[in-house]
């Protein structure tokens, strides 16, 4: 018991160091880039909490991050790399919108449920394809998931800007979905909606699956040591394929709830970055579903901060990418973690 508690403090310390480094980078780059650094820093760090609208929208943007964080965690737990988050999120949103547009007359609850379900299934199949290739022919899932995702993004772009484009507005987007498909807004005037509850349920569900069930036990063992798992009679091929299904399904749900809850149509490139951020969220959370929520909050905060700094001051939103890059650089460093492990023992 003592051992495992030590372990988690060590991990938390490592994460905090990384996040602190990221904060330092934000501040330093703002000083370099901004003519009014202090007000820019104010807008970056305080802006997201300035009013109900900003706060609600920030919390709303946590939701897709929770889903992708869970999605990537499921793959990581099984030692699979799903780099196709971007495409899976985009596809999820696109499919959800398509279902809503194809059958606009379904009653709300059924319609919402159906479009979420179809989106999740499609996402699962997309990521599952990479898992299948890996299981069947040992094709590197890291590369195939990324490539398939990119191919999908362009294909979906074609549909959104071509046959499914809404000619009535100049947005590159599909037509608006019928109103009974909209997820209930709960914090006006912001876009925060009941999808936040779905996300929390997904977290609980994931935690239960991973740590309480036989499926999760076998999945985690296959990820930690596949030879051991195989030796013990576990069908490891199954745990190359299934985690990718989970992963794709959660990623697709991230896109679907964005469309049904926030944008109400599928906008070209709306998934921008959510897939990659999911990887960072999963890493900060150390693939633990319970920790995905604070990690996603942190990420949404950076994004919202950069956005507020862009609107109110003189820096561009991509400053967030630099912060994220710093996190990606440091978050897996074993040297940083070991330095804490050493101190914990002394």
């Amino acid at each position: 018991m003592k051992d495992s508690r030590n372990c988690s403090t060590v991990q938390l310390s490592g994460v905090l160091v990384t996040l602190a480094a990221a904060a330092v980078v934000v501040i330093v780059s703002i000083f370099i880039l901004s003519k009014t650094p202090f007000s820019t820093i104010y807008y970056f760090f305080i802006g997201p909490f300035a009013n109900k609208y900003y706060l609600g929208n920030m919390l709303n943007s946590v939701v897709p991050l929770i889903f992708t964080g869970l999605g990537i965690s499921f793959a990581f737990k099984a030692s699979m790399f799903n780099l196709g988050g971007e495409g899976q999120v985009y596809a999820g949103g696109f499919i959800a919108a398509s279902v809503a547009l194809l059958i606009p007359s379904l009653p709300g609850v059924i319609g919402i449920f159906l479009s979420l379900l179809v989106a999740a299934v499609c996402g699962a199949l997309i990521a599952g394809l990479s898992g299948f290739f890996k299981m069947k022919w040992n094709t590197d899932e890291l590369i195939t998931s990324f490539l398939i995702s990119n191919a999908l993004i362009y294909t979906i772009d074609f549909f959104i800007t071509g046959p499914m484009d809404d000619p009535t507005n100049n947005l590159l987007a599909t037509r608006k979905i019928a109103s009974q498909y909209h997820l209930l807004r709960i914090f006006p005037p912001s876009s925060l909606n009941i999808s936040v509850i779905i996300a929390i349920l997904a977290v609980i569900f994931s935690f239960w699956i991973l740590f309480k069930t036989n499926h999760g036990y076998e999945l985690r063992l296959s990820g930690l040591n596949s030879e051991f798992a195989r030796y013990g009679g576990i069908n490891i091929g199954k745990y190359i394929f299934l985690p990718m299904l989970w992963s794709g399904a959660f990623n697709a749900l991230a896109g679907a709830v964005s469309v049904l809850g926030t944008t109400h149509c599928c906008i070209k490139g709306f998934s921008n970055g959510v897939g990659w951020n999911g990887i960072a969220v999963a890493l900060i959370a150390r693939n633990n579903p319970a920790a995905v929520v604070p990690a996603a909050l942190f990420f949404a905060f950076i994004e919202a901060g950069a956005n507020s700094a862009m609107i109110n001051a003189d820096v561009t939103i991509e400053i967030a990418s630099i912060v994220k890059a710093v996190i990606f650089f440091l978050i897996t460093s074993r040297v940083i973690y070991n330095s804490f492990r050493r101190k914990a023992l002394v």
Binding site: W137, T139, L142, L147, I148, I153, F158, V315, F329, T332
Partner: protein
């Protein structure tokens, strides 16, 4: 350009198109042989393209732009390698960091100095010089296919040879491959394998910078996402090329030919631009899956 037939311009263009694949591919090969999968090629190409064009416009000199662009990219590759190797971070995650940094940094700098995140077009420096030998121009096939490319194209061919020599004919190459084959054996000899891996990553920064520069300096402009997946295709080219310089040369030519052909086909059949963009990814996945399926099949048949 001569107009002797339909296929020559296609091949001629393919030779231009293959250059970034080839350059990023051989750089990636060096890291691959040192025992690391380098998925940061894409980001490094983008950084090379951006910084070489920016520095060329600042200095007004094509050569200085290329030089500083390459140095900057190698420096970022160095940071990437140092963090991965000496802070023992996961190489895939740090590589994603490079790719993120590339899009973020280029946009931030572009916005800060030029006030836009869109295309940056410059005309205060020369274009990449094109190599032409009038004497050879009249030779039918050679003149049509091998002449009239910019100098980075030829530099690429030269580098393939140089890399082949260094990797397989020098003590340095022997040690570098040794690191990839058995890391512990090298450290038991006190040969500091980490140093070789770091150098390999910096070398990949060098070739990727050239690959990027060949894209941006050629048109004298920087377009966001100008690398458009070439780093990923380069990765696949390494595998399909059997992890040898010659194989990479051939594989990148085949990819380039496919792309060049689809560009031409667009003139006849109206394919939406998005599908053209998706095409290299699709064909790459198909190629990857086929190769691994064939490999698996061979393993089964005894």
């Amino acid at each position: 350009m001569s107009n002797t037939g339909f296929s020559f311009p296609v091949i001629h263009d393919a030779i231009d198109i293959m250059t970034p694949f080839l350059l990023a591919g051989i750089g990636g090969l060096v890291t691959e042989l040192s025992g690391m999968l380098n998925i940061a090629l894409e980001g490094l190409i983008l950084l090379g393209a951006f910084f070489s064009v920016i520095f060329a416009s600042i200095t007004g000199s094509l050569f200085l732009g290329l030089l500083f662009g390459v140095i900057t990219t190698m420096f970022i590759a160095f940071i990437f390698g140092a963090i991965t190797i000496y802070l023992k971070a996961n190489e895939f995650i740090t590589a994603i960091a490079v790719n993120l940094l590339a899009t973020g940094l280029t946009a931030v700098i572009s916005f800060h100095f030029f006030g836009t995140k869109g295309n940056l077009v410059f005309d205060n420096f020369a274009r990449l010089p094109v190599f032409d030998l009038p004497a050879l121009d009249s030779i039918p096939i050679i003149g049509d296919i091998f002449l009239g490319h910019n100098i980075i194209v030829y530099a690429g061919w030269l580098l393939v040879f140089v890399f082949w020599f260094v990797l397989y004919k020098t003590p340095y190459g022997l040690r570098l491959r040794g690191v990839g084959l058995n890391f512990k054996a090298m450290s038991a000899l006190g040969l500091n394998p980490k140093k070789y891996r770091l150098e390999a990553i910096v070398i990949s920064g060098f070739t990727c910078a050239l690959a990027g520069a060949s894209l941006s300096l050629n048109i004298g402009a920087y377009v966001p996402n100008i690398s458009s997946g070439r780093g990923w295709i380069a990765l696949v080219v390494i595998y399909l090329g059997g992890r040898t310089p010659l194989g990479i040369l051939i594989a990148s030519f085949i990819f380039a030919l496919a792309e060049s052909f689809s560009n031409y086909a667009q003139g006849f059949i109206n394919i939406p631009a998005d599908f053209i963009l998706a095409f290299p990814y699709i064909i790459t996945v198909v190629a990857l899956v086929l190769v691994s399926a064939i490999k698996k099949r061979q393993q089964k048949i005894s």
